[in-house]
Every structure is written in structure tokens, then in C-alpha cells.
């Protein structure tokens, strides 16, 4: 990492307290630094929680109790009667307070009634082809998509959405999207069906797309996302990273890779689009076939067909297969890219979270760079001989 870490600036960045130059430097760094990104996630969650802290109302009786105490204190002071201008100021103040209370009441009321658009944040929509619709209204050139509203295109229309100031989304033909949420720490769309292409230039996890079978979380990237009529989706990443998530299941997809999802299952395992066709076909069976025998046979095909760069797929599979299958996946991975120091076979097979993350971080650069950093098979085997020998000797030396 060439630039310095930015963890100390995370809160200031989220609160808009950094200069535009520092903000830009922050965003550029965090996209490429896993360590700062992890910390960013934590602080962002802390901010989200702190924002839930409500202001409390002081009890009504406070002033009644305070007044006699003030009078007592004022006995030692010369009290001045309110002058005419003071009385006017007080009247104006009282009127303004009533006005403020009225406005607050109206604001609260408006937030309870979804049909009132003027109180809701919105995104600008530009027509690209045909006549897309927002709700029931056709848009000729541009329109506003408010929170809760649907944007729909038919077979001849396309549109572009400006995602606040952080990017844009192109909505293809026969697509239905809805704006779910937009504020400083989160922008969220729902893609019910069709295809969209997103280009986002913001720090990770500010932009999300909900689909019927997973949530796509932007990690600083460009990608396309398609949802078919059954709710299954296909994600293809063209730059950066995207995380696909459903409950505890997560797939991290880098540029050049794709990932499918299924309703009720969630994200499948990511794969590079240039991987062998037999590998991809087998992966589909491993991910979504209901027959254990079919899945087992498909895994064998995958392991035979896997290339060094396919550790992306193998790493994700570690937590998705059990028993002897996990051992087979581990051994294939270790042959391509030996685990870094501190990551043990036992730990990986027991799905030690820290070890899996360490190994992933070590592998990430090769997933981005196309595998140039992988060691050759003879070097890997030599490494394992030395490492296993050392472990055995350390065990022998350990006090009984």
C-alpha cells in the first residue's frame, strides 16, 4: 500500500469534515486497502447506531421548580422589568415557536403519508430511449424518482439514474427498479426484474441493490445485474468489487468474475468468466443441484478443471462444502497458492474466520492481476515439505 492508512479519518469523512482533496484521497485509498475498509465498515455501523440516539424532552415541571429558585437568586440582583421591545420580541418568539411546532408537526405527518412526494429525497432520471415510466407517469426527457417509487421500462425504453453524487445506473429494456433509500451512509435500489448497469465512484458499501435472491453491495466498482422472471440473478463485474449477500452467505466478486443467485438459496459461488466451460457447468451443479451425488461428481470435475486463478471459486467453496470435500478443495488450493504464515490446514478446515480472511487477502492481488504472483507447482510442493517438517519438529520439541 503506497498511500498512508486513513483509519483515523473515517468518522470525519462520513461527517463531511474532510477537505475535498482529503476526501478524494480517502476514497481512493479505501477502495484498495482491505484493512482500512474493514475499519470503515465498523465505524460506519457505529455512526448508523449513534444516529438512532433520540433527543429527550425535559419534563414540564422543570421550569415551575426552577422559577422560585431563580427568584431567590435574583433577590441579590436588580431585576429589570421587560421593556416594550422585549415584550414584542417575546411575542415574536412565541409566534415563531408556534410556527416551528406547526412545521415539525407537518413534517412528521408528511413522513407518515407515503403519497406526499415533496418531503422525500429523490434521484434524477434521464430518458435514454423510448418512454420509461415513474409510477404511472411517462417521462419525456427527465424526471425525479422519489423513495418508494418504481421506474419501469418496456421493450423499447431505457433510462439512466443519477445515484446522488456517487455514480449512475443505466436501466435496460423490460426492467423494473425501485428507490428504497437514499441518505449519507446508504443508497439502496430494488431490482425486481430486468437488467441494470451500475457505475459507482464512492467508498465501499454505500450503494446496495436488493434482488429477490440476494443483495449486491458495491465495493467501489462497475457491474451489471440481471434478474429473471423467477427471481434468479446474474452479476457480472467489470471493474472493482461487488459483494453478493443473503443472510450469512456472502460472495465477493472481483472484476472479470460473475456470480449467480437463486431464490431461497442466495448467492452461488463466484467464478471468472474466462474459466473453462466444464468448470462453470460443474460449479452450477455444486451450487444449486439438490442431489448430493451429482454435486460430489461435479466437484471432482471442477477440481480437475481448476486453474490457479480459480482459487477465487475454491476459496468461497471451502465454507460451502463439508468433510472430505473440504479437504479436497483445500489441497487443490494449497497446491496453487500455499497458505500465508499463520494460516494452518487445521484452522482452514475448521473454517477459522481470521485464517480464511488472511488467506483471502493474500490471494486477492492474484484475482485482480490475473494470477501472475502464483508460485509454480514444484515450488509449492517444496514449501509444503519444509513447512510440514518444521511443524512436526516443533510438535516434538513442545513440552509433554
Amino acid at each position: 500500500m503506497l498511500s498512508r492508512h486513513v483509519t483515523k479519518d473515517i468518522s470525519a469523512y462520513c461527517h463531511g469534515e474532510l477537505s475535498s482533496e482529503d476526501s478524494k484521497r480517502f476514497a481512493e485509498h479505501i477502495i484498495s486497502c482491505a484493512r482500512c475498509r474493514t475499519q470503515f465498515e465498523e465505524v460506519k455501523q457505529g455512526i448508523k447506531l449513534a444516529e438512532q440516539l433520540p433527543r429527550l424532552s425535559a419534563p414540564e415541571h422543570l421550569w415551575r421548580e426552577l422559577e422560585p429558585l431563580l427568584a431567590k437568586q435574583a433577590e441579590t440582583r436588580v431585576a429589570i422589568r421587560p421593556t416594550l421591545w422585549m415584550w414584542r420580541v417575546q411575542m415574536a418568539a412565541a409566534a415563531a415557536l408556534v410556527l416551528v411546532a406547526g412545521m415539525v408537526g407537518l413534517w412528521l405527518y408528511n413522513n407518515r403519508v407515503p403519497s406526499i412526494r415533496t418531503t422525500k429525497p429523490s434521484w434524477q432520471v434521464k430518458r435514454l430511449d423510448g418512454t420509461p415510466r415513474i409510477g404511472s407517469e411517462r417521462i419525456s426527457n427527465s424526471g425525479q424518482l422519489a423513495v418508494g417509487e418504481w421506474l419501469e421500462t418496456d421493450g423499447n425504453s431505457r433510462a439512466q439514474i443519477a445515484v446522488g453524487s456517487i455514480g449512475n445506473v443505466e436501466v435496460d429494456e423490460n426492467t423494473r427498479v425501485r428507490l428504497l433509500e437514499t441518505h449519507d451512509t446508504e443508497h439502496r435500489l430494488e431490482l425486481a426484474r430486468g437488467k441494470m448497469s451500475a457505475r459507482i465512484w464512492a467508498p465501499p458499501r454505500l450503494f446496495f441493490v436488493d434482488t429477490p435472491s440476494a443483495v449486491a453491495a458495491d465495493l467501489g466498482c462497475a457491474y451489471t445485474l440481471e434478474v429473471d422472471d423467477h427471481g434468479a440473478s446474474l452479476l457480472r463485474v467489470t471493474s472493482g468489487w461487488v459483494a453478493l449477500e443473503l443472510k450469512d452467505r456472502e460472495s465477493i466478486v472481483p472484476a472479470g468474475a460473475a456470480c449467480e443467485t437463486r431464490p431461497g438459496i442466495g448467492p452461488g459461488t463466484p467464478y471468472f468468466e474466462d474459466s473453462p466451460a466444464a468448470f462453470r457447468e460443474a460449479l452450477k451443479k455444486v451450487d444449486f443441484d439438490g442431489d448430493a451425488g451429482v454435486r460430489n461428481a461435479a466437484l471432482t470435475v471442477m477440481l480437475n478443471e481448476a486453474r490457479p486463478r480459480d482459487t477465487l471459486t475454491l476459496w468461497h467453496l471451502l465454507a460451502r462444502v463439508n468433510g472430505q470435500d473440504r479437504v479436497r478443495v483445500y489441497e487443490k488450493m494449497a497446491m496453487f497458492a500455499p497458505p500465508p504464515p499463520g494460516v494452518t490446514r487445521e484452522g482452514v478446515l475448521q473454517l477459522d474466520h481470521q485464517m480464511l480472511e488472511t488467506w483471502r487477502h493474500a490471494l486477492e492481488s492474484s484475482w485482480i492481476n490475473g494470477g501472475g504472483k502464483f508460485v509454480s507447482k514444484p515450488v509449492a510442493e517444496a514449501y509444503w515439505r519444509v513447512k510440514n517438517g518444521l511443524s512436526r519438529r516443533l510438535k516434538e520439541m513442545a513440552p509433554k
Partner: protein, 191 residues
Amino acid sequence: MVMAEQLIDGRIIEACQQGDRSAFQLLFETYKDKVFSIAVYSSGDREVAEDVTQQIFLKLFTAIRQFRGDSEFTTWLYRLVVNACRDEQRRRRRWLPLSETVSMSNPGEKKPQEKQYARLEVAEAVRAAIGELKPKFRLPILLKYIEGLSYDEIAGVMGCSKGTVASRLNRGHSQLARRLSHLNNPSAWGE
């Protein structure tokens, strides 16, 4: 309440300095909720917070004569509030974790909807977690989220640098996220 705060101009403060209780009542009505909120979150006890709020306004009634306008009135006021809370802390030897019985909603409020109820649960959990933070991490969070102050203003109130404020907020946010990691699931927020 920004508009209400804008009513507190030089003339109102001058009238308060001359002992005008009507003007002081306006000042009280404008800031009472903010002062009370800080006192509750700091002491963890509603009754103690009521006493602290009264003490702050009693002190303000006299001390406002010393306000010379060298800084913003709000900065000066919050410094008074922070100092009063610190004094209370010293008096009680330690900042007690917020009592489980402290409720954020006023008695008599209508029962919330299910979603609102989930959000209230989250707010209660946040309140409790903030009560467990060290005061040096808790106060910047209260000044930021209850009072809506900028980092410069918080630095002015706390008498430290903007960098220190940023650092303490960072650590406070991280600790909050770790203590409430079970709320990472959106369903916990009623979503």
C-alpha cells in the same frame, strides 16, 4: 429547533444578563431539551438529570453576566453543560451505566407500531451502549448527535483540538459497533 435558537440573539442575552426572567425563560425553553438529554445520557438517571439540568440553568442565570461574546453562545453554554456533567461525575465518583429503567419515551406516549417498536428497541440498546463508553468518547458523541455540533464546535466546547475530536469519535463509533454487533442484521432495525 434551529429557528428557535435563532431567536436567541444579542438582545435576549443582554436582557438575561440584566436579570430579565422572561428573557431567561425563553432561553430555558430553547435549550432545555438539549441540556436535559446530555444530562440523562451522561448520568444514566432521569432524576439526577433533572437536578443537573436545574443546576445548569441556575448557574447560567448568574454566569451569563460573564458571557462576553468571545465565542458563540452555544459553545459557551455547552461548555457549562459539559463541566456540570463532569462535576456530577466526580461527585458520584464514576459515571454509572445507564439504568435499565431509564426510558426514552415520555409516559403517556402512544404505543408505537411494530416497526417503530423495533427502532425504539435499537435506540434503547444504543442508549445503554453509550452509557458504557468512557466519558471522553461519550461526550463527543452526545455533542455530535444530540446537539448537532461540528467538529470545530465540539473542539471548542471540550477544549481540545479538532483532531482529538475526530479520533475520539472514531473510537467511540468503533466501540459502539462492537458492543452492538448483534444489531448488524437489518431485521433488528425493523427493516
